[in-house]
Symmetry: C2
Subunit: 411 residues, 2 copies
């Protein structure tokens, strides 16, 4: 299998504010061709470090891909340093310069002279035309190493890679494929999943398995290597089938869907409709549900009843109930769910009330206490949950739990 | 100024699914001590590449920090490879082993024998005790280089760094500080901001300025270096003051606050209250507003009126208005804003209706068309906006625009 390294070039990715995300997309594309990513480097406008990085990468890996640093300014050092590391000359390519001038002329602007720098190419490089920006990419073959220089902006980088780089790499990579599958799990913690899953997945080296925790959900990533798509599929089917036996009820998707997509699909399939009444989640539940295109088919309305008045006026929750049990109570959650269902005339109603913090908690009702109720035509039933973490995490977990409660109800 | 490199160790960060985010936090801490991060490497369980990375980093940089790879399993290679690169021995530290056994005993579990590996330390290393996990960190001085090994989980890594590593690095770094300030801007694009700001910030090398685009907003990051906090502050004040003159009305925060925090602060200060009626944003506006702790002081209620029935039943939007002008129209947006304001009895009401796509667009009313209305006690006025991008981006931009409209109204 071929090994690749990715070098992201740009000082902004060495600040506390920005990450290199291009490499995720590139990794997915490379993996799909059976190319493994072995190392990633993020470097700024430090010439010596970049040169050393390039030299090391070319010694170790068959494919070296850089992103960024192809702009027109002084600190865009990619061209210069790759040329130095490759011991090749930079040559002014008249055809690129003409295109650059034409590009500016079309916008009725004179080309700033610094942009001429973008017409410099490394001797012997294949020029990768950039239809979405001024900086062309380059592809260079040096001994056994394929070196690819791409611009940093994703909307420039991606089309160049797909149209001009992919065919070259595919030919080099031959016919080994990496195929991945993701099982999405809710309702168990990371160690809970591992306890059930490890005895199974540890028996396999191919596919390999990784467990990831993300926003209160667990993802099991299965990765198979094979020469054929169908063989990789069979390998994945076998492992996924065994995992299904022990984790079945917790797995909400086998195709890396979100909970809201799965719930939406179920509602649509059965012709059911939904309305929501939220307190502590403040609209996030409705927001997640309506993230799905076409959700207007099954989502009728939502109410964010932050004040007690809103709970009684909009949802018909009796004032007495709030007074007796408090706004955060099983009774009020159930009345909210039943109230919004009645108002909207929907198949289901969901009510969420809780204490997301940081303030508002007490010994009896601590921060993290959330009641989630689901109402249908016969009854409204609430679950009491206590979530860990900060305000944002408690709100996210509440939305997940509400969606999963509905998913299990419809299933 | 001292230079640092960060090495993130873990195969999961070489997949398409996960990034190294520890380095952002570490960079912020290092910058605050006047230490510059010059390079970041992400490497998996590849021993040769990790060893080379460590050697290169130690040659080039005064501080080398690694995260991850200190777990108990076979692919946790950090200890072994650092020892090899440093040409030092690994020694079993009995005191750590005892603590590990005690930790498991407290949970009534026998310690799996593989965990004993976590008691191996590099000869001469200072042990960095980990109160939140099983893997201790290490700090090693090798010539002019300070090498720090930290566990990967943020809740283990951060406290170790703050309590045990920071004091050592602070002493090395001396008294040069890096102080950053962030100006948050809405209502102009990246090039629009740069056109106004570049003639100013390009006059300064200290502070330096970076422009970042994020979720439809622009951030101007100003970075000053100085020996004193107050001198750095003056440098930042001078540049920020000049930027304020040209960008003033577009700057919504000078302290890296979110739009919802700024709006919340303004509402609270004036004793105003707010209610929202959303169609295409589906609850995201209410969700963003209630992200702010204490938002119940000014946010009364929200309605997600996805169906036309909800618009008329809940908000009193005349059915005739919807029929005449369509649900996505200036008239309906204004009626939604006025309707929710009246229902909630709030100072302000916001109404949002639009076409987030991907379906539902027409020539006359394309995907991206959004009307945002703001109602107060005298009138309701809508703005017509056309946003680019996909469903998610259109929804995010709509929420930003609604919040900014309210901010400008209160200001």
């Amino acid at each position: 299998m071929l090994n690749a390294e990715i070098i992201a070039i740009g000082s902004e990715m060495l600040t506390p504010f920005r990450l290199d995300t291009n490499s995720l997309w590139l990794t997915e594309r490379l993996n799909a061709m059976g190319i493994d990513v072995k190392l990633k480097t993020i470097v700024g406008d430090d010439e010596a470090r970049l040169e050393e990085t390039i030299r090391d990468a070319m010694k170790r890996s068959e494919i070296v891909i850089s992103t960024g640093g192809l702009g027109p300014t002084e600190d865009d050092i990619t061209r210069k340093i790759f040329a130095r590391a490759l011991k090749r000359q930079l040559i002014l390519e008249q055809s690129i310069l003409d295109k650059l001038r034409a590009r500016f002329a079309r916008r009725n602007m004179p080309m700033p002279e610094i942009n001429a720098r973008q017409a410099l190419v490394i001797n012997g490089a294949q020029i990768l035309e950039n239809n979405n920006g001024t900086a062309p990419g380059m592809l260079i073959t040096e001994g056994k190493c394929t070196v690819v220089l791409l611009p940093g902006p994703p909307r420039e980088m991606k089309p160049i890679f797909d149209t001009l780089v992919m065919p070259v790499l595919k030919q080099r990579a031959g016919d080994m494929l990496i195929v991945r599958r993701c099982l999405n799990i809710f309702g168990l913690g990371e160690s809970g999943v591992d306890e059930l899953a490890a005895p199974i997945y540890l028996k396999y080296r191919n596919p390999s398995t990784t467990i990831l925790f993300k926003d209160g959900q667990i993802e099991l990533h299965l990765t198979a290597q094979s020469r054929s798509e169908s063989e990789a599929g069979s390998l994945l089917d076998e492992l996924a089938g065994q995992l299904d036996e022990v984790l079945g009820e917790y797995i909400f998707s086998r195709r890396n869907e979100t909970l809201e997509e799965v719930v939406g699909e179920l509602l649509k399939l059965r012709g059911y409709t939904l309305a929501t009444a939220e307190s502590c989640t403040g609209g996030l539940l409705a927001g997640r549900i309506t993230d799905v295109p076409g959700s207007s088919e099954y989502f009728l309305e939502g109410v964010v009843s932050y004040s007690n008045e809103a709970k009684s006026d909009l949802l018909g929750v009796p004032k007495k109930l709030i007074k007796e049990h408090g706004a955060v109570s099983q009774q009020v959650a159930e009345a909210m769910a039943a109230g919004i269902r009645k108002r909207a005339g929907s198949t289901f109603g969901i009510g969420v009330t809780g204490i997301a913090g940081p303030g508002g908690g007490s010994e009896e009702k601590p921060v993290g206490l959330v009641y989630i109720a689901l109402a249908d035509d016969t009854q409204a039933t609430a679950r009491k949950l206590i979530f860990p973490g900060d305000r944002q995490f408690i709100r996210t977990l509440s939305v997940n739990a509400a969606l999963d409660m509905l998913r299990r109800r419809i299933k």
